[in-house]
């Protein structure tokens, strides 16, 4: 029942320095869904994103977006990486960064036009950072920084979104705002994948879950996949600790 508009991952395997990080991942993801990528630390969640996006070398396997290779649809696929590894002292304002989302639409000799500026303004308004647009990016809170990156992704106007841990180090208001925006995008038919680690909010946030721990544990609709049994397989050794800290209930 593979549909041509799906995101299809075939036999993806990745290793760093001979250590296997991902083994033989197969996925077939219909569009218009909000996916949570769940798994313990070191499960290879970020690696899966990078491999699917063609940012790292893979040992084997391939990913296709609506039947196309990633290289042929860069404009349509957008990535929001984790906030660390970014030089926040960089001389750029919020608007400069959000406007970056328009760059893929511009040829070398084309200038930014009114449409680009309107898209940039719209994206900033949507995530609620319009009042910060002249601010240097270092003078923002964690939540605001995350909103800037989301706004850039929105300004790009892509069909598929990859967000790596967008809720780490952000305030509750931002988290709610982001999930609300993601749900709106989903209802507009966009496909959204989110690496997420807070097991408590999985059922509330995601339509579908991809459970991962170096290999694919299970994936599919949240009620079917996000079960005690699957979670305990994915988290095996970590489960006891989680019980003790009360992060999940027995």
């Amino acid at each position: 029942m593979t549909q041509p508009e799906n995101i299809i991952v075939k036999g993806l395997s990745v290793s760093y320095d001979r250590k296997r990080v991902l083994t033989n991942i197969f996925l077939d993801l219909p569009p218009g869904q909000l996916y949570g990528v769940i798994g313990p630390n070191g499960a290879g969640k970020s690696t899966l994103f990078k491999a699917m996006l063609g940012l790292i070398d893979v040992n084997a396997g391939s990913t296709s977006f609506q039947g196309k290779k990633i290289e042929d649809c860069r404009k349509e696929v957008v990535y929001v990486p984790q906030r660390d590894n970014v030089d926040w002292t960089f001389p750029a304002t919020v608007r400069d960064i959000v406007a970056m989302g328009r760059y893929p639409h511009k040829g070398l000799l084309q200038r930014m036009n009114q449409e680009d500026e309107a898209e940039t303004a719209r994206a900033m308004k949507l995530v609620g950072i319009s009042h910060l647009q002249e601010r240097q990016i270092g003078a923002l809170s964690g939540g605001q920084q995350q909103r800037v990156f989301l706004a850039r992704a929105l300004a790009q106007g892509a069909d598929t979104f990859f967000l790596d841990e967008p809720f780490v180090g952000v305030d509750i208001t931002t988290e709610e705002r982001i999930i609300q925006i993601l749900k709106t995008l989903r209802s507009e038919g966009k496909t959204i994948l989110v690496v997420h680690h807070d097991l408590n909010s999985v059922e509330e946030y995601f339509d579908q879950v991809i459970l991962l721990n170096q290999r694919l544990i299970a994936y599919g609709p949240t009620p079917e996949v996000f079960t005690e049994e699957n979670i305990s397989t994915a988290y095996s050794s970590q489960l006891n600790i989680l019980h003790k800290t009360g992060m999940i209930e027995k």
Partner: protein, 500 residues
């Protein structure tokens, strides 16, 4: 002492001036990307690594500006490729890889020079190579520098967007379809060009000063990349020209003079940059500290007053300020009209300010407990710090988010925001008609009115004004409202009534 104009009327000096201007500008602008990409060491490496290129070019085609240029660029790019290759394929640390490559290439170049001097009987001056010889610039050199300047600046303008993204976040640049590696090597090419052009002016050792120092200075002064590029170019240009002038005037070597001038600009920015300068930082820190002390003073005074223990010695003891600080804050607050002349009682304004602080403190504590899940025991210090930093807008937001709490986690009341309605219920006289405004000063008031059964935007008659309550009649019901609440209830203005 000759004026600048007189000095530069001589032809050799004018040529030197033109060369310095171009080099200062090019290196300044290009240097911004080098600094932002943490490639300062690479700039140094490339400049040293081009020596063998010059030497081999001389062996092959003899003394030729174009030959030197070609040889240098090839050597520079070769160094960049080898360095990148080692960094990616061999497990040698990045800076170690750079060090190995450039010292090796530089050494080969130096050996080549000795070999040429011995066997060909030609004397190549290593000193010119090391420190530049801007006063000996020939027309051919000028043309070459001019071409390099135009090419580098034009490339940066044209490739501004890819350069910006690949520098800020290479991984995002990649997902946007930019060729990150290609940009890296193109930048290396531009760098090689700039280094070769700068060789005549400042020499290998000091090229890096022209690349790094103006860029680092500009980064202290501006917060947007286009401005940084412009300011760095200007500082580079000024350093080169002023350095050249000073060198001619005081008969010293131009290259080092330029580097020294650039460093002076840098030091000035370090101390006096409005936002990032040390001076501004110290002043801001001092001001913040003083504000915090003043605010603590107000709060303590209010607290003691409420406990009826307010006197000077209690206040001083509770605050723990030295006598000098105490006196300074006292006079500061009195000047602002927040403190009575006795030096410890609050004025009405002062009380308002103190209440605002208590509100900030308790709201923040409530926020930390309710929303962040911290325990009530260890939030006081945090709130003590943040009460000084929270803006009024943020507090309103926090209050709304918390659902307008009345007590904090320790059970103390949270003071209301001191806002007065434009026209309150108390402004009406007996038997006046009026309407309760739709929008009250805060949702708290709306809620209280709702509880009392007072309907907004519905006509009422003022029936009684007592010393501690007012009574209104609305839709045949008599409702009593406490005076403190009545003072905060907004009544629709007459114009609004007229329109309804």
């Amino acid at each position: 002492m000759d004026t600048i104009l007189q000095v530069f009327q001589q032809e050799w000096a004018l040529r030197a001036l033109i060369a310095s201007t171009m080099v200062g500008l090019t290196c300044g602008v290009l240097g911004c990307f080098i600094v932002l990409r943490n490639m300062a060491l690479i700039g140094d490496a490339l400049s040293h690594a081009i020596l063998p290129g010059v030497v081999f070019a001389f062996m092959i085609v003899g003394y030729s500006v174009v030959g030197f240029f070609t040889g240098s660029v090839i050597a520079g790019l070769l160094a960049a490729v080898i360095i990148t290759w080692i960094q990616q394929r061999v497990k040698t640390k990045n800076d170690a890889a750079i060090g190995i490559v450039f010292t090796a290439m530089f050494s080969i170049g130096v050996m080549g020079i000795s070999w040429i001097s011995r066997n060909e009987g030609v004397h190549l001056d290593l000193k010119d190579f090391l420190f530049g010889n801007v006063l000996g610039v020939a027309n051919q050199d000028l043309i070459l520098s001019g071409l390099v300047t135009v090419f580098v600046l034009y490339s940066i303008v044209l490739l501004y967007r890819p350069l910006f993204v690949t520098t800020f976040q290479p991984i995002i640049a990649q997902t946007m379809g930019f060729k990150v590696e290609r940009m890296h090597y193109f930048l290396m090419l531009l760098l090689s060009f700039a280094v070769v052009a700068a060789l005549q002016t400042v020499g290998v050792i000091l090229v890096v000063a022209m690349l790094i120092t103006p860029a680092a200075t500009a980064l202290l002064l501006a917060e947007r990349l286009p401005w940084v590029l412009g300011i760095a170019g200007l500082i580079g240009l000024l350093s080169a020209v002023l350095g050249l002038y000073l060198a001619i005037e005081f008969e010293t070597t131009p290259g080092p003079a330029m580097a020294v001038v650039a460093t002076l600009f840098y030091l000035m920015a370090v101390f006096f940059s409005p936002k990032k300068g040390l001076l501004g930082q110290t002043i801001r820190k001092r001001r913040l500290q003083q504000r915090i002390q003043a605010e603590d003073f107000l709060k303590q005074s209010l607290k003691l007053e409420q406990r009826e223990q307010l006197n000077k010695s209690n206040l001083q003891e509770n605050l723990g300020f030295s006598r000098r600080v105490f006196g300074r804050i006292q006079s500061l607050l009195r000047r602002k009209g927040l403190l009575d002349n006795d030096g410890y009682h609050l004025t009405t304004e002062g009380r308002k300010e103190a209440n605002r602080l208590v509100r900030a403190h308790r709201l923040w504590e409530t926020y930390l407990v309710d929303q962040m899940g911290l325990s009530a025991e260890n939030i006081h210090e945090e709130a003590e710090r943040y009460e000084h930093l929270l803006t009024e807008d943020l507090l309103d937001e926090v209050e709304a988010e918390l659902g307008y709490p009345t007590i904090d986690p320790h059970g103390s009341p949270i003071p209301r925001k001191a806002v007065r309605p434009e026209r309150s219920l108390l402004s009406l006289a007996k038997n006046d008609h009026g309407r309760i405004a739709l929008k009250q000063i805060d949702e708290h008031i709306t809620a209280q009115l709702w509880q009392l059964g007072v309907l907004p935007d519905t006509e009422f008659v003022m029936r009684q004004l007592d010393s501690d309550f007012v009574e209104i009649e609305q839709e045949d019901r008599h409702i009593r409202i406490s005076k403190s609440l009545a003072g905060k209830v907004s009544v629709a203005s007459r114009e609004q009534e007229a329109t309804t």
